[in-house]
Symmetry: C2
Subunit: 320 residues, 2 copies
């Protein structure tokens, strides 16, 4: 099961997912980001070894590396060099891992599995998981302040601020909190529910994807016009990603998505299908994909631009 979730497809998963194979640049960039994570995370042998092992366990537990890929492609679509984009890309993946570790905790989503493997607090313990999450967020912001050396100190400063706002109470953490509270409030009127749902996902997923693209752009010294296009692209990609996730929870193959299907329905969670039905959700998915393409076309023609277009198609169709 793990193989089909890993960035580089194995022969086994290739057979099963032949039509939905991720574009080649995804695994190529993912491999470089993995290498960079290997350099930047303290070694497992370094004291406190248990904490560093936990940070590595979560960072190398698979995953599509979408956020790092967006930093790299966003930067390259503004003339940046891949080598300069890898450390910020790894930092953004650390932020993503931090959020997964804390979200999985018993007090929050209480998930025993993550990407088909024991979640961090199940594999280690709760105290280690809390501290490892803290440490990953903290290290990520440190790295954004330090890298790339080729960027101006002003650009790196803006990147720290951009990431922190995407993470903070008006971003991902705020979305997670609203999500927790939303699960506890009673039934809402449909339009209230739709507004709440969109606002939660813009914060929970969209903010970080948007930050990834603009951080990549800033590393490459992008103009404010380009940064604006990257920002809008991030917003529509975020919704695209989430709608597809919600659809997969209903229609997905549990073996491919790495978790029990129907978990959202069981939890009576606010999702796109629960509000708009499967067909309505698929319509919305198409619209967000179209908006994404529109923003990408405002960037300069380049290999990275082609890759971003291909990424949209993949995210729209993915089966895991």
């Amino acid at each position: 099961m793990r193989a089909s979730l890993a960035p580089r497809p194995t022969p086994g998963s290739r057979d099963r997912t032949i039509l939905l194979l991720p574009p080649g640049f995804l695994s190529e960039i993912a491999a470089l980001v993995d290498q960079e994570l290997g350099h930047l995370l303290p070694a497992e042998s370094v004291d406190p070894a248990r904490l560093h092992s936990a940070m590595r366990y979560s960072s190398f537990a698979g995953g599509k590396r979408i956020r790092p890929v967006l930093i790299v492609l966003g930067g390259e679509a503004c003339g940046g060099k891949r080598q300069d984009l890898l450390a910020p890309a790894a930092a953004m993946e650390m932020i993503h891992c931090f959020s997964l570790i804390h979200d999985d905790l018993p007090a929050l989503d209480n998930d025993d599995l993550r990407r088909g493997q024991p979640s961090l607090h199940r594999q280690f313990d709760e105290a280690t998981a809390i501290l490892a999450g803290d440490a990953l967020l903290n290290l990520a912001l440190e790295l954004l302040a330090l890298t790339p050396e080729s960027a101006t100190a002003e650009a790196r400063n803006a990147n720290v601020v951009s990431a922190a706002r995407a993470v903070g109470t008006f971003g991902m953490i705020g979305g997670q909190m609203a999500d927790l509270l939303g699960e506890k409030v009673g039934p809402l009127a449909p339009e209230e529910a739709a507004t709440l749902l969109e606002s939660i996902h813009r914060r929970k997923t969209g903010a970080l994807l948007e930050a990834s693209l603009t951080i990549g752009g800033r590393c490459a010294g992008a103009s404010s016009v380009k940064l604006d296009a990257l920002s809008r692209l991030g917003q529509s990609l975020g919704l695209l990603f989430q709608i597809r996730d919600d659809i997969l929870d209903i229609e997905g193959d549990p073996e491919k998505i790495g978790k029990t299907a129907g978990k959202d329905i069981e939890a009576a969670k606010l999702t796109y299908p629960s509000l708009f039905g499967i067909e309505g959700s698929k319509q919305r998915l198409k619209q967000e994909a179209a908006d994404s393409r529109q923003s990408i076309l405002e960037l300069e023609p380049s290999l990275a631009q082609d890759s971003l277009l291909e990424l949209v198609r993949f995210l729209e169709d993915r089966d895991h």
Copy 2:
């Protein structure tokens, strides 16, 4: 009980602690930092209100504001203006609050009381406490990237890095992890235990005090010679602070220290008195105070220098 822990002494606490009254500049700076925290933290009414309320609950639960005071005095002892030092000072207090919130969680120290009041997860709930801690760390690093505007982007970047290293796996979080692991290992040889104890406290307390002083210095454009003196001062102040804490756990008045005395002994925790006895611990306290004064005298003669000397005397003698 709360009054004696608040930064500004009330008539009640003044009567009881007349000989150990904190120096006036402490409450003066603490009041300004409180005001700054009030501006910088999102209002309780802002969505997600529960999260913002939790962040404010912890930030205004009393406390001596030692770290912000060190930023202000460290900066002023290098020619900085107080007005420029308050936002970074508030940021450093947010980092301190983050660490207290997560340390108090059931999976870590499992403390129901903090400064004589219910700890955050008892007053709200565990999920909110985890997210509020995350949000405070994150907002703090954002603020260090943004403020003061009078500092160079390079200095603000260095401050983000300095704070993040003090927080990270080689700093506070690493010390907390070693502390958790230390409580689980069997008895150590005395010299091993002493090394472990010092290493834990340098990381748990010293790193953040050291970062506070150097961040203040950097905000003021301090020379590397001054930054070095501030750095050494932070290290000895950290040990001074911790040794006094350990002594208070045994000799302190529970009503003044705001927690049950003897809690460390009950938990068979590694402390200075458990290793060196009360008298041995008091000797070490004196030595760290002397080292602190030495470093302070390397700074420029100023009102801030006098205040730092007064602070050492207060930390050495404090009864809470």
